[in-house]
Amino acid sequence: MRRQKAKTRPPGDRRRAQAGALPARLALYAFLLALSLVFLFPFYWLLTSAFKSQAQIFAMPPQWIPAPIRFANFTSLAAETGLPRAFFNSVVTSVGHVSLALFLCSLAGYAFARFREAPGNEALFAFVLATMMIPGAVTLIPSFLVLVKLHLIDSYWALIVPGAANAFGIYWMRQYMRANIPDDLIHAARIDGCSEFGIYWRVALPIAQPALAALGIMLLIGAWNNLMWAFIVLRTREMQTLPVVIYLLQGEIRTPYGMLMAGGLIATLPLILAFLLFQRHFIRGITAGAIKA
């Protein structure tokens, strides 16, 4: 009895190694702590600068804690710039794009996972995967010209539709649905008289919720932060999204840094909050990219 107990204990030499590793561990903690502070510092600077005047921002030595704390940047942002409208535009285009993409990707992913005997399933799926290799830089100009032809420049659709049927998203939804939706369930739903779309909507989608969350968050980061495409296709102040408006706030001669930082803070906070709330999904969504490697 006693002997068995002794066996389950870690071997003595390993214990000694752990005890000897204590200073090393402290050093590693110090290292990680120092570097995490370095990584967080730009956020700190963004946060504090949003409450400073231009003079305070450029004060030497630097003002580590703003004194006095000013809220003028926020009030003048609201009064003098199109920032509130830009925030609204960003929400509409991001939510619109992510919703449409999730719908189309899960629908196609479901079809690829579900109708395995359909003629051409594998070849068509291989084709979908192959389209991922096309670099966006090559299709940029013609895509812009297509939107011009369709009279969609300077509209929300220009940000919502292109890229909504995302090849990676289809791949990601197919893998998940293939592994997690039992065929019996689908058969049962069909016998109950469910339409094919009804099975997708009422049976498959609820099961695929974790995959949808991970994909949605990945797409949201891209959509919310999109600068280049938004810069190209949105022409008027009323339509421009946060990244574009913030970029354009930089003046040729004098840049209102306090206001920029305040606007930057407003543009950054939603995603940071989303990240803190759904951290697990965030991380899983990104590691999903590694599977295809």
Binding site: F58, A59, P62, A111, T139, T268, I286, A293
Partner: protein, 299 residues
């Protein structure tokens, strides 16, 4: 079952996947073909197109700015990829230790840069890099006061040809290390515990385990990270467009920003398409080489 009947029986399959193919036709296939055609054309988007044959390709050979931008792309990549990968692997390795406390805090701190809008962060770094009133040079001045024999002087981060690329590289390391860390963490967690146990039983030191177990087994992950970084460097846009606009001069102009300027500042749609196609081909070959090289090592 005859094909027609089978097609009809699976009509929902074709219906459900049709949105992808429709959108791909409009925003993928057509642009791909049209852009190929544009490579042989001179066009500003307004006046009629003129067929110029291979003239665009000839122009490319003498395009000094294109050469500069490709060179800068290479230098920026070499400046940031090694430290970023090293740091990401170090973080992943440390965050994978079972004894580590505060894991969530560290992971959040390193990963947070990846979810922030690049525009905002580029402007913040612009402030930090400011040569007279920036925090970074304030730090340099403090070190100089403490250790005068080093003869440190304020660094012209964004105002000199030599330092602009370094500044971009610092920004990129800050922004993308966490992303690579998460990928590597997933790779590390994919390695079966049994290997390590077996190696420990056989008396392998931790250094040997790293050299003969972790590093070889992590090679696919490293390859993936390297491929992503390669593509990310060539087509990098926001970072440089906001932080330096490619300047001073063309000292930090990379390919992504050069292509954007060509397309949407100079409206050389034909020439830009030609350049985009050619460089995409070059990148494709490079990416192929990276994956080929690694596969051979594995055998």
């Amino acid at each position: 079952m005859p094909l027609r009947a089978s097609l009809w029986r699976h009509r929902h399959f074709y219906l459900f996947i049709s949105p992808f193919f429709l959108l791909f036709a409009v925003f993928g296939l057509y642009p791909l073909l049209f852009s190929f055609y544009l490579s042989f054309v001179k066009w500003d988007g307004l006046t009629p197109q003129t067929w110029v044959g291979l003239a665009n390709f000839a122009t490319m050979w003498d395009d000094d700015i294109l050469r500069d931008s490709l060179w800068n792309t290479l230098v920026i990549g070499l400046l940031y990829i090694p430290p970023m990968m090293l740091l990401a692997f170090l973080f992943a390795q440390l965050l994978n230790q079972p004894w580590l406390k505060l894991r969530a805090f560290f992971r959040t701190a390193f990963f947070l840069p990846c979810v922030t809008p690049m525009v905002v962060i580029s402007i913040v770094f612009g402030l930090l890099f400011s040569s007279e009133k920036g925090v970074f040079n304030y730090g340099v001045a403090l070190v100089d006061r403490a250790l005068p024999f080093l003869h440190l002087a304020a660094i012209p981060w964004l105002n000199s040809d030599r330092w602009s690329k370094v500044s971009v590289a610092i920004l990129v390391v800050w922004r993308w290390t966490g992303y690579n860390m998460v990928l590597m963490l997933a790779g590390l967690q994919g390695i079966s515990e049994e290997y390590y146990e077996a190696a420990t039983v056989d008396g392998a030191t931790s250094l040997q385990r790293m050299r003969y177990l972790t590093l070889p087994l992590m090679r696919p992950t490293f390859r993936f990270c390297l491929l992503l970084s390669l593509l990310g460097t060539v087509y990098m846009f926001d970072e440089i467009f906001v932080l330096t606009q490619g300047g001073p001069g063309t000292s930090s102009l990379n390919f992504g920003v050069y292509l954007f300027n060509l397309s949407f500042s100079n409206f050389k749609f034909g020439y830009a398409s030609c350049v985009a196609y050619s460089v995409a081909l070059l990148v494709f070959v490079a990416a192929l080489l990276v994956s080929r090289m690694n596969r051979q090592e594995n055998e």
